[in-house]
Subunit: 521 residues, 2 copies
């Protein structure tokens, strides 16, 4: 009879602190009482539009307070959310909607123009809701009108193994797959993350995309805790600085690239960011250089890295604040992804499926309360990913004697050069320490002699002279073995990023490999 | 595929901090590495003795480090623990063992003498293990020998809805019922309680009985957190004071009666209890008088009250540290059981099953991740207790406008006097404020005129003059309505307590009601 459900936090808020501010979006502020009122009316609207229990509702929108309302209204109504990656092409979005038979789609003003195209591509799409301040385009229902016109309905209390969301993964590897996460999956991980990512009575900032599992989990934890959530539509360093200051944001979820852009932004000089206590970051380790600059500017802030995968909802490991300070850094832990997070088991397995010897690189596998139900409509891929009751991450890594997990690379990102395995993360770490480098990525490119050669792509820091390939090699030679150092160099204005903030190496590799046989997946 | 299991914390400890001290019992200290080693060997011993997955193992023992090992070894082996109430008679214990067909029983030295009687009464009992330092009596297996003789076995990883424990409830009401709690029940509540009862890197003290769900949950949370657990065999205020001091205990789970005996004990004068940060208490609210004395002596300690029931594994609500300080006390919250704890829904229902109006007394019902699977072999009682998907506590209470839960009485403890309902808790609160009162209980006794009359039973504080019935009435008259004040008074050396530290009112009532028709259940 055990019952766990995601809307529980709203009932708690109504009972205990209805007048606390739930959401802030620009000048719009809503209390938990207003938030739950809107959620329960919007749920009524969804049901009135034909939503049946378990139906998928797509959300294609920039971040907003309405996105938060949608997560909860869809569950309150009994539905399943399908948060769509806004950086995808219409073709890719249509695939994600069609694949899991999404019948209802919510779009904001930014994506309203894509609807005509999507409706033609997605045959199951019956209804489109326009979530914006402006008038709704013809053929779309108005989000605000649905709230105004419908009385509140009772919570459907979908719970436990009921499907809560389908999150399409894509970006750095392969074709998109719909990760099915239950109420229990999401609830368990949020419950286990309260202490680390949802500090009591601290406002939280959403600037990473809310369609992504990382910010999705951040959102669930904040709501369970009953914190105030401040939402920015998308990432702009000046707006982040201004908002942290004006809204006294206590916790922010960012990716290292964002942290770098914030701390290097001139606007940070005069801002009062004294309320900020914790930066939660993911997608990749942070470079010592960016960390140093951030700590110097924001001495009251601590850092917490979360490593995970959508398939684990998404937490696998956590690198805590202590490990970002002197002792942890001296022990080299800043390059790790931390220790397995609460209730998660992590093993390293070699290709034959057996446990790798301690310190040896193998595939990272994990199990825990967040482990997905499977990929939508992909039983074969599900069996492969979950074989033996463990989620196979596809990431290569090792565990040190104290259980710190070091991700050496996405398995597919490994570069094989002259018979030696080169893990690009290690090379990137070396390059990032160069004073002129703001961001970097390392890929393998075709090489007649070595099979693959290590190739560096960098973004320069403003005011610094671009390094030459030779000077960068010399810098790296001080830090890593010669065969790992980049043979060639490309300087760009920015790196292509996935919704999760991961560098899209596929795009970087494409020009080099497009006429060759190597799979660049 | 979501997986939650109770032995997960041990794997975590082995990976991340094997050398940390797991248990302290007298002069015996064991690291997590030793602890898990003994658990996995003892599990091997249990399997070798014929334990099959799902088999019940009874534990009849005072608190010890071995009790902690047993919880985990039984799960590691695939079994289900049946922790037996040590205060019960042989007849009652035999009932609990026979009822759920417990085949294996572990006893310590204290209870070894009861085995002969139990074996004759309990036909399903096949095997008895003696967990003690002395040689095992004839016919019993030696706990230490099982560990010495058996190699470690792999963790059975019983998980999710697998039954983890059967906890027999009894004491204050009715016949004993076996509360079935799954791995998921216990794991969910422990996970949600980490922040409140298992402070990071603070040693925890077990002095409340480990067979009881309250200390059982405390134990699970400490193990998940990876804290050091200090175990005392039973309650002795001098030993508690000495142990908190010598082991630098940070968190202790106590009942108000214990707190009063500790703070009023002369030994507290010279002791250094500076490590103690938090006292978690339950079973009943604490009196302001005892709280004042404790806060004056231990200014660095905060207080957290947990209210619950075995059937909820056991958390229902929590009264946090702030509410024990001036503002919360001024608002009268010290008499409450706090707000619903994480992930738990609480409602107050009237006799017709509908929600009671706010502020109105009704039955407290709750649901959440800890809600039991049911009562062993009692489908009718299970249906009644869990009707409508909510656990019916049998306690009378109300919710204030901010969601604070006030337990006015066990429903059956309500006294009806002259047509007025008297909730004994309110009377007890008034009496407890009398300077000469150390502890008290209020019951209804037969009265020719009023049906029932309010009767007070008190324990006096040393060095104070016993109050007369008349002076106690006058004291109460200042605080509560006249019809609620005690008509008669009985002074005792101590109050009969259940294993959970609740006053056994049944025993207090018995002499007055034994020749009458009223059910004293």
């Amino acid at each position: 009879m055990t019952i766990t459900y995601l809307t529980q936090g709203l009932h708690r808020a109504l009972l205990q602190f209805p007048d606390r501010t739930a959401t802030v979006f620009g000048s719009r502020r809503r209390s938990y009482r207003e938030f739950v009122g809107r959620v329960s009316r919007l749920a009524g609207g969804l049901q009135q539009l034909g939503l049946a229990p378990g139906d998928r509702v797509g959300v294609l929108s920039l971040n907003s307070d309405r996105y938060l309302e949608l997560y909860y209204a869809i569950w309150w109504a009994g539905g399943v959310i399908n948060p769509v990656n806004t950086r995808w092409s219409a073709r890719e979005i249509a695939y994600a909607l069609e694949d899991c038979q999404t019948t209802l789609l919510v779009v904001d003003q930014t994506f309203a123009g894509m609807v005509e195209d999507l409706v033609q591509r997605v045959h199951c799409l019956r209804t489109v809701i326009h979530a914006g301040d402006a008038e709704s385009p013809a053929g779309m229902f108005s989000y605000e009108q649905l709230i105004a016109d419908n009385p509140p309905v009772p919570d459907a209390v979908r719970a436990n193994d009921d499907l809560a969301g389908i999150f399409y993964t894509g970006g750095t590897t392969g074709a998109a797959k719909g990760v099915m996460l239950s109420h229990r999956n999401l609830w368990s991980v949020a419950a286990g993350s309260l202490e680390s990512i949802a500090l009591p009575q601290h406002s939280a900032l959403h600037v990473a995309p809310m369609f992504h599992m990382a910010d999705g989990m951040f959102l669930l934890a904040q709501t369970l805790r009953g914190n105030t959530q401040v939402v920015l539509p998308n990432f702009d360093p000046a707006a982040v600085i201004q908002t942290i200051s004006s809204e006294k944001v206590g916790v922010a979820l960012l990716v290292p690239t964002m942290i770098q852009m914030i701390v290097d932004h001139p606007g940070i000089g005069a801002a009062d960011l004294g309320a900020l206590r914790r930066i939660v970051y993911g997608a990749s380790p942070i470079s010592e250089a960016v960390l140093d600059r951030t700590m110097a500017r924001l001495p009251g802030v601590d850092f917490l890295q979360a490593y995970g995968l959508t398939e684990m909802a998404p937490m696998i490991s956590i690198l805590g604040p202590e490990q970002h300070r002197a002792e942890g850094r001296a022990a080299g832990r800043l390059r790790s992804a931390g220790q397995p997070s609460w209730f998660v088991d992590v093993r390293i397995v070699s290709e034959d499926g057996r446990d790798a010897a301690p310190g040896t690189v193998g595939e990272v596998v994990a199990r825990g309360p967040g482990m997905m139900q499977g990929y939508w409509n992909k039983p074969q891929e599900t069996r492969t990913a979950l074989r033996g009751g463990w989620l196979h991450t596809g990431d290569g890594g090792y565990l040190d004697p104290e259980g710190y997990l070091f991700i050496v690379d996405r398995v597919k990102d490994m570069i094989v050069s002259g018979g030696e395995n080169v893990y690009s993360a290690e090379v990137e770490n070396a390059i990032a320490q160069h004073p002129a480098v703001a961001a970097c990525a390392v890929i393998g490119i075709p090489d007649a002699r070595w099979g693959e050669a290590v190739h560096a792509v960098i973004v320069c820091r403003p005011g610094h002279t671009e390094p030459t390939a030779e000077s960068l090699r010399q810098h790296c030679r001080e830090l890593i073995a010669g065969y790992k150092c980049p043979r060639s160099l490309e300087v760009r204005k920015d790196l292509p990023l996935s919704g999760a903030g991961k560098v899209l190496k596929t795009q970087l590799r494409e020009p080099y490999w497009k006429d060759r046989g190597r799979q660049i997946g």
